[in-house]
Amino acid sequence: MAAVTDTLMPSGRLPRQHLDRDDMVKRGLMIVISLYLIISLAAPLYVMLSKSFSTYSFDLTAYEFQVSDAAGNFGQTATAATLNDRLSLLSPDKLATNADGRLAATSFFPEFSFRSPVKYRIRGTTPDTAYLIGSDLHRGTEWQELDSNTFRRVALRSSRSTGLDNYISYFSTPSLFRSVQNSLFIAVISTVFTVGIAFGFAYAISRSCMRFKGAFRMIAMAPILVPSLLPGIALIYLFGNQGMIRDVLFGTSIYGPLGIVIGSVFFTFPHALIIISTALAISDQRHYEAAASLRASKWRTFWTVTIPGARFGLISAAFVVFTLVITDFGLPKVIGGQYNVLAVDIYKQVIGQQNFEMGAVVSVILLIPALAAFVVDRLVQKKQVALLSARSVPYAPKPNRKFDFYCLMWCTLVAIFIVGILLVCQLAALVKFWPYDLTLSLKNFAFNHMDGGGWGSYKNSIQLAALTAVFGTIIVFTGAYMVEKTEGFWKGRAVFHFLAMLPMAVPGLVLGLAYIFFFNNPANPLHPIYGTMAILVVCTITHFYTVGHLTALTALKQIDGEFESVAASLKQPFYKLFAKVTVPVCLPAILDISIYLFVNAMTTVSAVVFIYSADTALASVAVLNMDDAGDIAPAAAMGMMIFYTNVLARLVHAFLSRAVLARTQAWRTRG
């Protein structure tokens, strides 16, 4: 019976396990969701990238003309280039255009008259040479003979070439290049302030015995519930040209870097706080006891124990804040004044000048810091997990009157700042006509009398948020389940994981622009969804995919990995297990994902601003547009509507979570 140890494994192919229906269904679903992510993310990004390398110009050597005399005898053949040189009509820089560029053929014939009996012939010198006759596209080297009246309607089309021209012209335009410097400057300053303030706040909450910790935590999260441009509006009310306390600034204008930085600190604060709090929460009491037993001073303990322990959190928070600021566009749009930043450049290039190629260039540049932040964050997350050990003893602060008082002061100041901004917006929304008529009224909520889509846009936002929450949660959780609980299929799962992580590295503005390129192309079979609610839902789900995916993965990893094996041995299909066990056990995480998607769908501006249509105007975009149109008070009012809705959604979420926990999670409490 004993085996012989020195034999070698017989050569041959590895046996392949027969797949049962479950395996097929799981892989199928994974492929479907992968395809969704490819269509809604990878493909648009690819198209955008290729767009940024595309330049369009009129290639005059590719067209040949012949003109007849009144009797119909055609003369010599001449290329458009020859005619152009002879007449010195268009300088070379005038020949650059965009993808949709048209050049009237008559411009090469100064003597042209549509009533003349003269006839014209046109042909291309290459099979790809394209020109329009009326609205019909013609290609090729066949002569087309046209009378004057028809020739009037001939237009040359631009031809595409690939290269770095767009980038070169971007970096050689001083005003555009200055935006890069401005963006970096704003992002660095905002990061320093936000991380500093958030660290103090998190430190006070985790290391002191001050009172009102719960209230402070709640207030600190409030900025997540409003669009990022709302603090801009509040700052205008406080320090703007007719601001309540503009004199405090001694003549410094709030429009510009100052306003952007203050607003950025406001809206990035909760994001930094969450990360730093987590980092501080995992510190080990025993390190402090060791430091105390070595008679280290408090100051020394802070620098040798606290900061090193939280350093990964600080790095991660800094990168996240940096990315949020540099890719945010609502705030600088509202309060930036003449101070140009990258994100606004994209908006101006695309919406203002319809220069999509240049918009794509700025997008690609904006991808660089976002990708860097993403990579650093991933590396840091890996390290941080290693710091956690099961035997760590959580830090328990001891009361210290002086220290607790300072902590309370710090948190109070921050809370006043946050609540103050929201209160100012609330006030702005309710006052009749600042600063001349301060009586309270609801007239600013009469959105139907303003630009921006009126109450319809609010309804659209609710619809978008609800659809995003429902479908997003289903897609995200199902995808996470398939990738986590499938056996084998390693390559497929790796691809899926990569696709699921990618959205985090793509700023909303970039995604929105990529959607224009991809979906607003009549050749794309998905073109019909352009301009509908569907594309907004797809875009928003994709934009916020990663956080939901990670939340779902964390919840799924906590479930015993043998459940699937047990179910298979009991001949039960996986969807029975999924419905009866996996979903009920993960319900708290599922609710978290849905509220996250809902709140973000309500507040997001950056991605959807490029792809909303007249029928699908959104509340967050309405805030931007009303502000743009000078209706600042209604903009504030709409911003507050978003805030109320999100607060309500949060309350419903808290209530549901509790009810669900009580009803279906009875097993969590030991009897």
Binding site: A3, M9, L14, P15, R16, D20, A568, S569, K580, V581
Partner: protein, 389 residues
């Protein structure tokens, strides 16, 4: 404490088996199984037949391949080469759901949000059985595992041992042809473990279901299994009944891994003689050539004490020794013996309380011990197979 049980199990040399599984037809046939993880081979050409109704334990140190073998049988980790047949049918590449087994994991893997009754009924639902029949079956299973009134509790409300029994009930609910137990008792504390050992064995006998249990605990294997499969480094070292494995280890690894044993550097002198220190003793028959270096083994409890200077043994094989340190281990004394005859070797012997008292054994005293020839086994150096049979 470990030794105590071992001593007990050797005290009952013949196990009384109510059924004779060894005479039953082969149910599971594992042929030339290999499993490679990159360059590492977790299973190397493993072949094994398991009879219907048999309780087989895979025993070995961690990393020996026992769990890999179980998971290959379950279809959870496909083998790299080889074939598995169950009930005459080739199941080598079938997915888990198409195989016929129930499984219990070390973690129990009970569904935390379902009641005990619904956990057990999980495999019964979806089979077009009427509800009343399912309920009756659940009741019957709960009674079978001795937890008749826990139906409406949640798993977290039960103790570890109770949870393990529920996992067992869930696995046998669908009356599988094969029951797989993956270290089912290792997460429990010692007392519960001993109790459950007995219960699982009883249940298995009652149901007559062919069972494979993976364990690294030799006591568990010795007390529960009809046959034990000892594994090491991906190969099967020996297959046999607990007594065979204990009394007649085929390899030095088995002799050393199961129970305690003295390993003495020795030299073969004849086909039934071996020399070490300054002694030459008769031993179990072997096939080593004269003067070949070997390892001679004898279990501590097989060393028989006689009065000092005694010559009155039927078999001979007597050595005069001096008593070194004595360690009191409850039911016996573990004693280290040295002596001129032993050379540099130290012989460890376990002497009962009675013998110790009768012979007045004490540290520093003299003694003559007998090493029964049939208990003195000879193995080649550096592992491999002995030729003692």
């Amino acid at each position: 404490m470990r030794h105590e049980t071992l001593a007990r199990s050797t005290a009952t040399p013949t196990k009384v088996l109510p059924m004779a599984p060894s005479g039953n037809p082969t149910y599971l046939q594992i042929s030339n199984l290999w499993k490679a993880f990159g360059d590492f081979h977790a299973l190397k050409d493993v072949s094994l037949d398991i009879n219907e109704g048999e309780f087989v334990c895979f025993l070995g140190p961690s990393g020996c391949g026992k769990t890999t073998l179980l998971r290959a049988v379950a279809g959870l980790d496909l083998q790299s080469r080889g074939m598995i047949r169950q009930g005459g049918k080739d199941i080598s590449t079938l997915p888990p759901s198409k195989r016929d087994y129930g499984i219990v994991f070390q973690s129990y893997a009970l569904f935390p949000n379902l009641t005990i009754a619904r956990n057990i009924a999980f495999g019964l639902e979806n089979t077009k059985r009427p509800k009343a029949e399912i309920e009756a079956r659940v009741k019957e299973l709960l009674a079978l595992v001795g937890l008749p009134d826990q139906a409406n509790k949640y798993p977290s409300q039960l103790s570890g041992g109770q949870q393990q029994r529920i996992a067992l009930a869930r696995a046998i609910a669908i009356s599988p042809g094969l029951l797989l137990l993956d270290e089912p008792l290792s997460a429990l504390d010692a007392k519960v473990r001993v109790h459950l050992r007995h219960e699982i064995k009883e249940l298995q006998r009652k149901l007559g279901v062919t069972t494979i249990m993976v364990t690294h605990d030799q006591e568990e294997a010795l007390s529960m299994a009809d046959r034990i499969v000892v594994m090491n480094h991906g190969v099967i070292e020996q297959v046999g009944t607990p007594t065979e494995i204990y009394r007649h280890p085929r390899t030095l690894f088995v002799a050393d891994f199961i129970g305690e044993t003295n390993k003495l550097d020795a030299r073969a002198t004849d086909s039934n003689c071996v020399a070490f220190g300054k002694s030459e003793l008769r031993c179990a028959l072997h096939r080593f050539e004269t003067d070949q270096s070997v390892i001679a083994t004898i279990r501590p409890e097989d060393v028989i004490p006689h009065e000092a200077g005694s010559k009155s043994s039927d078999t001979g094989n007597l050595i005069d020794v001096v008593i070194g340190e004595m360690e009191f281990l409850g039911s016996f004394w573990r004693t280290r013996l040295r002596g001129e005859k032993l050379g540099d070797e130290v012989l460890i012997a376990d002497f009962s309380i009675n013998a110790t008292r009768r012979l007045g054994l004490a540290e520093g005293g003299s003694l003559t011990v007998e090493l029964p020839a049939d208990r003195l086994l000879v193995f080649p150096r550096g592992g491999g197979h002995g030729s003692s049979h």
